[in-house]
Structure formats: structure tokens, C-alpha cells
């Protein structure tokens, strides 16, 4: 590996963030290399989603350094600078957030054409390729309201990819889905990671995190308790808290059942 491909694409150093009186992040250090798939796991309210939102400047921490693809995110003062960053960092939300007044195809091409000023024909072609990739080619002219949750989430992923991002953030993308459709979304993400897309996932799908991650990060109370390979975190950790959390979720069979669906 050359130095450039191995270079850190995301680097958080001692990031502190609070909303009013509530301290959400209490000193986060995290380094993610290009091409890596990193899963952030941990109990609710531990600051997982907030870490993602710091990375694409949806929230600004009080202190600490954040570097994303060569940009010092914590030093961005203007909204226009944050917008430039967000064009390069894709994010997929728990609730899909598709635009209900536009067809699937228009959802995907809107931002590249209007925001990036991309060529229309080329973007439509790209959008159709992406739809094929997420196995929804026949739904190009449907409206979001006519799709199932899993289908909408796959469109949301295609929409994020159409911006040709340098990395993609997945914020609990399967949490709002019924178990039957979780599998089809995970399948798409797995494919993406195999293609080498740098991905950061906040997830409760333990089996999935174990399978696709290069690194797993465990957070609790605004701190990173431990990080390491999936093998380390899921099977050979000495930390009793992590063992309890991981055992409680995946040992119960929930992850296993979900992961097996529709793949």
C-alpha cells in the first residue's frame, strides 16, 4: 500500500461536544483510513450519531480537532464551507428522508444536477446504474410513498452515492425497518464496502458489523471505550461492559435472524 491510499481520511482528536448542559462527546479520538469500513456500536445515547454529525459538520464541537479528507472541519466558520464538505461526504439517515414529491429517479438526480451542476444525461445514466446496483431499476418512476421502508432506504443510499462521495456515513439505517427488509439494505451496504467505499456505520446489527467491519468502535457515555478488529471486540475483549453489551444483543439471536433474511 502506498502512503496516499493508506492515509487517514477521517481523524478526530479529543473532540468534546455538549448540547446546552448535556455533555454528549467527552473526548473522542478516532482515525479512519481510506477504504475502511468502521462500525460504531454502543448503547443508545452514547454519542454514536453525534460522531457522524461532527464528521459532516451538521454539528460543531466545542473543542477538539476534526480532519476529513484534508479539511479541518472544526475550523470551518462559514456555512458555505460546511456545504462544500457535505458535498464530499454522503450520509444516509435512519428515516430515509426521501423527497416525497419527487420520483425515485428525481430524488437521486436532484442534488448532483442542481447542487454540483453535473451534466443531466450523464447523471440520469449514473442514477439508473445506481438503481440497478440497489436492485430497484423497475422503481425509477415510482414515488417514495409507494415503496416499502427497505426500498426507500436503498433509494436513499443510491441518492447519497450519486454525489460521488469520498466516504459515506450510515446512521442506524436499518433501525426503522421491519425485520423482513433489513437484509436487503444490509446486502447493498455490504456490496458497497466490498467495492472499497470508505464507510462509517452506526448500527445495532452486531452480526453485520462483525462481518463487514475492518474496525469496530464501542462507545459509551460520550467516550470510546475500546476499538479494534471485530474479532477483538466481539470475541476476545477483556472489558466486561462490552462483553455484556455484545452478548446481550447478538447472543439472543436477533442479529443472526435479521442478517439471514433475504440475502
Amino acid at each position: 500500500m502506498t502512503a496516499s491510499t493508506d492515509a487517514a481520511i477521517v481523524k478526530l482528536e479529543d473532540v468534546h461536544l455538549s448540547f446546552g448542559q448535556t455533555q454528549v462527546l467527552k473526548g473522542i479520538d478516532l482515525t479512519i483510513n481510506k477504504g475502511d469500513a468502521v462500525s460504531i456500536i454502543g448503547p443508545s445515547g452514547s454519542g454514536k450519531s453525534t460522531i457522524l454529525r461532527c464528521i459532516n459538520a451538521l454539528v460543531t464541537p466545542q473543542s477538539g480537532k476534526i480532519t476529513v479528507a484534508g479539511t479541518r472541519v472544526d475550523q470551518l466558520t462559514k456555512e458555505s464551507e460546511r456545504i462544500q464538505l457535505r458535498k464530499r461526504v454522503g450520509i444516509v439517515f435512519q428515516q430515509y428522508n426521501l423527497f416525497p414529491h419527487l420520483t425515485v429517479l428525481d430524488n437521486i438526480v436532484l442534488a448532483p444536477i442542481k447542487i454540483l451542476g453535473a451534466d443531466k444525461t450523464a447523471t440520469v445514466k449514473l442514477a439508473r446504474e445506481l438503481l440497478e446496483k440497489v436492485r430497484l431499476s423497475e422503481k425509477a418512476d415510482a414515488y417514495p410513498g409507494q415503496l416499502s421502508g427497505g426500498q426507500q432506504q436503498r433509494v436513499a443510499i443510491a441518492r447519497a452515492l450519486a454525489m460521488k462521495p469520498e466516504l459515506v456515513l450510515f446512521d442506524e439505517v436499518t433501525s426503522a425497518l421491519d425485520p423482513e427488509t433489513v437484509g436487503e439494505v444490509l446486502w447493498v451496504i455490504r456490496d458497497l464496502i466490498r467495492d472499497g467505499m470508505t464507510s462509517i456505520l452506526v448500527t445495532h446489527e452486531m452480526r453485520f458489523a462483525e462481518e463487514i467491519s475492518d474496525t469496530v468502535v464501542f462507545t459509551e457515555n460520550g467516550r470510546i471505550v475500546d476499538h479494534g478488529s471485530p474479532q477483538q471486540i466481539f470475541h476476545s475483549t477483556n472489558n466486561p461492559r462490552i462483553r455484556q453489551f455484545v452478548g446481550g444483543l447478538s447472543g439472543g439471536g436477533r442479529g443472526a435472524v435479521r442478517d439471514g433474511e433475504g440475502i
Binding site: I91, L98, A111, Q146
Partner: protein, 263 residues
């Protein structure tokens, strides 16, 4: 592709048919039958119809101008009320609060007496007719209503839609233009229709400041003819005319609503 259009409940269908019969059949029928029974009355009416029609064309003109002007200004004011900067927000808020609570007649009187009867433009004296002043009075009122409708519609869009646009690198104005406002159109159509009909009916107030419109024409006619039955029939004609002005607005809006619902 087409979704099931929300079925209009049977009761509203029947009631709208009844309404149509009253407006388009019963009232004209009353006028025709009465005129035939008493031919001297019919003769007077036929003589005055062109005069009434010339008045009515003024109502249509004032309505179109006031609604167009009011909608344009109202949408802008509504968006200004939501601006992040107080020096944009505050003037709009003050304007809306003052004029939303002003009676239409007061505004029409005010514009009639505040504006001069002619304006000097590059040394030329241009007349400033009373009907234009009435348009401005009604436009001020409708812009205040429509500002509130616009503000409400924008606020009713879930914040997750804003979040999605932010994640894709939209600026605030781009998000408004491409994602938020298109969704507001459908939501604000029914209240917009109410404002448009009120403005159409409000045009009759312009008669009180001497604008030659339908009410004014009917009063002229009844004063000239001095027959009680003619006075009654003249005002029935006025009612039927206002019905034909307002009813299509309601129908058009309903059709648009259904088309948007299908989307």
C-alpha cells in the same frame, strides 16, 4: 405510477352538486322566469345587463390583480418571516400582524385616500385610478394572509427533510426552492383558495369608494329604475355573478389538489 386518488366522500359530492344547481341553474332560472312573467321587468333587465356586465368585468380585473400581487408578495413575506436574520424577519412580522387584522374595507378606504389621484413620472402626469387603489388595498390584506399560509406550510414540513437536504450539500435557499416549497404548494392550496374567494367577494367593497364594479352598477341601476322587483332581481343577478366568479376557483383548486395527491 398513479396512486389511488382519495375518494371524495359521497356527501360532499352531493352537496357540491346542489351548490352547482343553486348557482348555475336556480338563480338564473329565477331571473329568467320572473322576467318572462312580467315582461316590463324583463325589458328593464335586458337594458341594464350590459351596464352590469361592464361592472362585473371590473370585479374580475380587481380579483386577478389583487390575488396575483397578494400571492407574490405574501409568499415572499412568509419566507422573510422565517429568515434567520432579525432585520429581515422583523419587518415582515410587523407587516403581517398589522394587516392580517385589518378589515378589507378599512384598507380600501386607506389606499383610496393615501395615494394621490395622479402620479408624476418623468414629467408626465399619469392617472392613478381608484380601481388600482382598491387592488392595492386587497393585495395588502391577501399578502398578509398568504404570508401566514406560506409560513405555516414551510413549518409543517418535517425537519428531517431539511436534514436530508443539508446532508446532500444544499444551501438553505436551494433547499427551500427545490425541496421545501414544492411540498408546500399542495399543503397551502386549500387555504389559498379561501383567500382568493374572499378577495373575489371583497371586490364588492370597492363600490364604496366609487369604483365602477358590479355592486356599484347594480345600485346605479336600481336607483335609476326605481322598482322594488327590479332591485331584487338586479341583486340576484349580482349574487349569481359572484357565484360564477368564486365557484371555478374552488373547483380548480380541488382538481389541482387531486392531481398533487396522485403524485
Amino acid at each position: 405510477m398513479s396512486m389511488a386518488v382519495t375518494q371524495t366522500p359521497k356527501t360532499t359530492k352531493t352537496s357540491s352538486r346542489v351548490l352547482r344547481y343553486v348557482g348555475f341553474v336556480a338563480m338564473p332560472l329565477l331571473v329568467v322566469v320572473w322576467s318572462l312573467v312580467d315582461l316590463s321587468l324583463g325589458k328593464e333587465l335586458v337594458e341594464w345587463i350590459p351596464y352590469l356586465a361592464s361592472g362585473f368585468s371590473m370585479n374580475i380585473l380587481i380579483t386577478l390583480c389583487a390575488v396575483t400581487l397578494g400571492t407574490t408578495a405574501g409568499v415572499l413575506l412568509g419566507l422573510m418571516q422565517l429568515a434567520p436574520f432579525w432585520f429581515v424577519r422583523l419587518p415582515a412580522q410587523i407587516y403581517v400582524q398589522i394587516f392580517r387584522n385589518a378589515p378589507a374595507l378599512v384598507l380600501i378606504f386607506a389606499t383610496t385616500y393615501i395615494f394621490p389621484f395622479e402620479i408624476v413620472l418623468f414629467g408626465n402626469y399619469l392617472p392613478f385610478p381608484d380601481w388600482v387603489k382598491a387592488v392595492i388595498g386587497l393585495a395588502i390584506l391577501s399578502s398578509a394572509y398568504i404570508a401566514e399560509i406560506t409560513r405555516g406550510a414551510v413549518l409543517s414540513i418535517p425537519t428531517t427533510q431539511w436534514e436530508a437536504t443539508k446532508g446532500l450539500g444544499f444551501s438553505r435557499l436551494q433547499a427551500l426552492r427545490y425541496v421545501i416549497l414544492p411540498q408546500c404548494v399542495r399543503r397551502s392550496l386549500p387555504p389559498w383558495m379561501n383567500v382568493a374567494s374572499s378577495m373575489a367577494m371583497g371586490t364588492s367593497l370597492a363600490s364604496l369608494v366609487g369604483v365602477h364594479e358590479l355592486m356599484h352598477a347594480a345600485t346605479d341601476a336600481s336607483t335609476a329604475v326605481r322598482r322594488l322587483d327590479f332591485t331584487i332581481i338586479a341583486y340576484v343577478v349580482v349574487m349569481a355573478a359572484f357565484f360564477t366568479l368564486c365557484y371555478p376557483i374552488a373547483r380548480l383548486t380541488r382538481r389541482l389538489e387531486q392531481r398533487f395527491n396522485a403524485g
